[in-house]
């Protein structure tokens, strides 16, 4: 297909930055899916901040029990019923958002920082450094991430911080490979060669020319990873390592609910659906961001 007419000569003056933002926002609004994703993520973040405060039964969240209210079926008072110690399942789930989202952020931020560092150095330095770092990254990737996280969590012992660290240590290779690929591709771009020909220092070339153009794919991966990190955190909680009760966490809630199936099945519904909704929201948002941010996607 031939290229259509060359891009129209420089458009009318007017503030340029606002116009670029408008075009990006327009494309984001275009896909209703990403709007839905953004709405869900907003809801999840809202509950992450105020979950335990807004919960209809705040004292349940703090661990108070009332055997009389054991296993009440879903009703107006308890939309998702109560659990084996009479606590309102909805309140626990709302409070549980905080732990899951916080852990998710922790994993994604530590993982992306560590991975970007390794990937950028490997991609930019090349040669032996690249070979060594990448062999190590591939090595960590050979061990399935959930099992590796379990092994590290087992070694470190239970607790929120250990769990986040365990998952992050098995999470960074994904970013390392992504960033290395992006840096290698960017290094070949003509404008990078131009910068080096001008005499720009390697640091300037890396931080002013290469990394800014690698930012979008990293941001897209971070938003997608938020969902998967929440899943992994809940997974570890489900098999019993992670947060110690009474802190409410979706995985542990689901695990305890499991033993009371099928008679009191409703105790599992709230945490399970909360997990699904949170991950669904981040995935939709990630997809939407990819269409808007990733220049390659658009080119």
């Amino acid at each position: 297909m031939s290229k259509l007419a060359d891009p129209i000569a420089a458009t009318a003056a007017g503030p340029v930055r606002r116009e670029k933002l408008a075009r990006a926002l327009f494309r984001f609004r275009q896909s209703r899916l990403s709007l839905l994703g953004a709405a869900i993520v907003a809801l999840v973040l809202f509950f992450a901040l105020l979950g335990s405060v807004l919960a209809p039964y705040p004292d349940d969240v703090r661990g108070s029990v009332s055997t009389a209210a054991r296993f009440l079926a879903p009703s107006a008072a308890h939309p998702f019923g109560t659990n084996e110690v009479g606590q309102d399942v909805l309140s626990l789930t709302m409070a549980g958002t905080t732990v899951s989202v916080l852990a998710g952020f922790g994993v994604v931020i530590i993982g992306s920082l560590l991975g970007t560092l390794v990937g950028a150095v490997a991609g930019f330095a090349g040669g032996l450094v690249d070979e060594a770092l990448m062999r190590f990254t591939d090595l960590v990737l050979t061990i399935p991430s959930l099992i590796l996280a379990m092994a590290i969590a087992a070694a470190l012992g239970p607790g929120f911080e250990n769990m986040v660290l365990a998952i992050s240590l098995s999470w960074w290779p994904g970013y390392a490979r992504l960033v290395r690929g992006e840096v290698l591709a960017a290094r070949e771009e003509v404008y990078v060669t131009a910068a080096r020909a001008i005499g720009a220092s390697p640091a300037r070339v890396l931080f002013r020319h290469i990394l800014p153009n690698c930012l979008s794919p990293i941001i897209v991966k971070m938003s997608l990873d938020m969902g998967f990190a929440i899943l992994t955190v809940a997974g570890l909680g489900f098999i019993g390592i992670g947060v110690r009760p009474p802190t409410p966490e979706w995985g542990t809630l689901l695990s305890t609910a499991r033993s009371y199936m099928p008679d009191y099945w409703w105790t599992a519904m709230a945490p399970g659906m909360a997990m699904f909704l949170a991950v669904f929201g981040f995935n939709l948002l990630g997809d939407g961001l990819r269409d808007v941010l990733d220049p390659r996607g658009r080119r």
């Binding site: 297909m1 031939s2 290229k3 259509l4 007419a5 060359d6 129209i8 000569a9």
Partner: protein, 344 residues
């Protein structure tokens, strides 16, 4: 004057894009007869490639639309043809070659197999195609393979039978373009459309490919449309030329006439911008201004804004195509009628 092989009449094409509706083709007229090699020349964005693709109806019609105009192939209007009948024409009656040999061959399939597929597709509409290759009892695929080998030899690929088993990445750019020419001609089409066939090749390889196309035309007495932005290629390969600007054919005629006595201001500007043998340093005349925005095209003649001969009439209404010499026509109210320009 043999009956026209291809007749494009007043073809309009609009393409919807993020910024609005682009009026890409603004009434293209072109007539090609057997034995004629038409050079369709113009700068990027003039619509030459889209014209070529429109003939085989390869332009996807969700973004593109054809508000008016017809494309008659041996009298039959392709715009009204049912999709399956159109597909029957492709490869069998209309062959195509594209620009970049590195991306036009299926990287995961052997050359022989790709040639055989095209031959079988063509033979399904005209079984006799395979018969003169090898006798029938060997089976159609074997016949197609032999035909493919013969074609590869014909386009100058050494030990063709062995090379059938090679993959595209085992050939050089020039060789791949030869394979593509063989593929385009294996179905024995009557019309060959070549979209910038040599632009991606080195000058030395380009010359060989152009000579090859000329000899294939002479062998099969077919009509050719050679789309290019290089007037030199047209001068040395084509019998006729159609100059396009911003969606219109502004000048057509035999190559010699148009090159020696260009009548349309744009054709003249184009030739003045090409460094010739004796153009003194610094005397090259660039064409000021920019190609018009096809979303809000200027009324009347689209070249008027950049034309030093433009009058109110030009800016008001689009000039019809009028003759300046036998077979030499131009779409301009004030064509230039002058003696020969100095030798190129």
């Amino acid at each position: 004057m043999s009956e026209a092989l291809l007749e494009i009449r007043d073809l309009h094409l609009t393409m919807s894009s993020f910024d609005g509706l682009a009026h890409v083709l603004n009434g293209v007229d072109l007539t090609v007869r057997r034995g004629e090699v038409w050079g369709v020349v113009g700068e990027s964005g003039c619509g030459k490639s889209l014209t070529g693709l429109s003939i085989s109806r390869l332009v996807p019609t969700p973004p593109a639309r054809y508000p008016q105009g017809s494309i008659r192939f041996e009298g039959e209007d392709l715009m009204r043809l049912a999709p399956h009948r159109m597909q029957a024409l492709r490869g069998k009656r209309i062959g195509m070659i594209f620009q970049d040999p590195t991306t036009n061959l299926n990287p995961t399939v052997r050359i022989g197999e790709q040639l055989v597929d095209v031959a079988l597709a063509a033979a399904s509409h005209d079984p006799s195609l395979l018969d003169d290759a090898t006798p029938q009892q060997f089976g159609r695929r074997r016949q197609a393979r032999d035909l493919a080998a013969r074609l590869l030899e014909r386009v100058g690929i050494p030990d063709a039978q062995a090379r059938l088993a090679s993959y595209p990445h085992e050939f050089s750019g020039g060789m791949r373009q030869r394979v593509l020419i063989a593929m385009a001609l294996i179905g024995r089409p009557d019309l060959l459309i070549a979209d910038e066939p040599t632009t991606a090749l080195d000058v030395s390889v380009q010359a060989q490919i152009l000579k090859l196309i000329q000899s294939m035309v002479a062998d099969h007495d077919i009509g050719v449309i050679l789309i290019t932005h290089n007037l030199g290629v047209v001068a040395e390969t084509c019998t006729h030329v159609a100059v396009m600007y911003a969606g219109n054919v502004v000048e057509t005629g035999p190559v010699a006439a148009v090159i020696e006595r260009p009548a349309h201001p744009y054709t003249r500007a184009l030739m003045a911008a090409i460094p010739m043998r004796d153009t003194p340093r610094g005397q090259l005349q660039g064409l000021p201004g920019v190609v018009p925005d096809l979303i809000r095209p200027p009324p009347g003649c689209r070249f008027a804004p950049r034309c030093d001969r433009a009058t109110a009439e030009c800016r008001a209404r689009f000039p019809g195509t009028g003759p300046v010499a036998p077979g030499h026509a131009v779409a301009c109210y004030h064509p230039v009628r002058q003696p020969k320009i100095a030798d190129g």
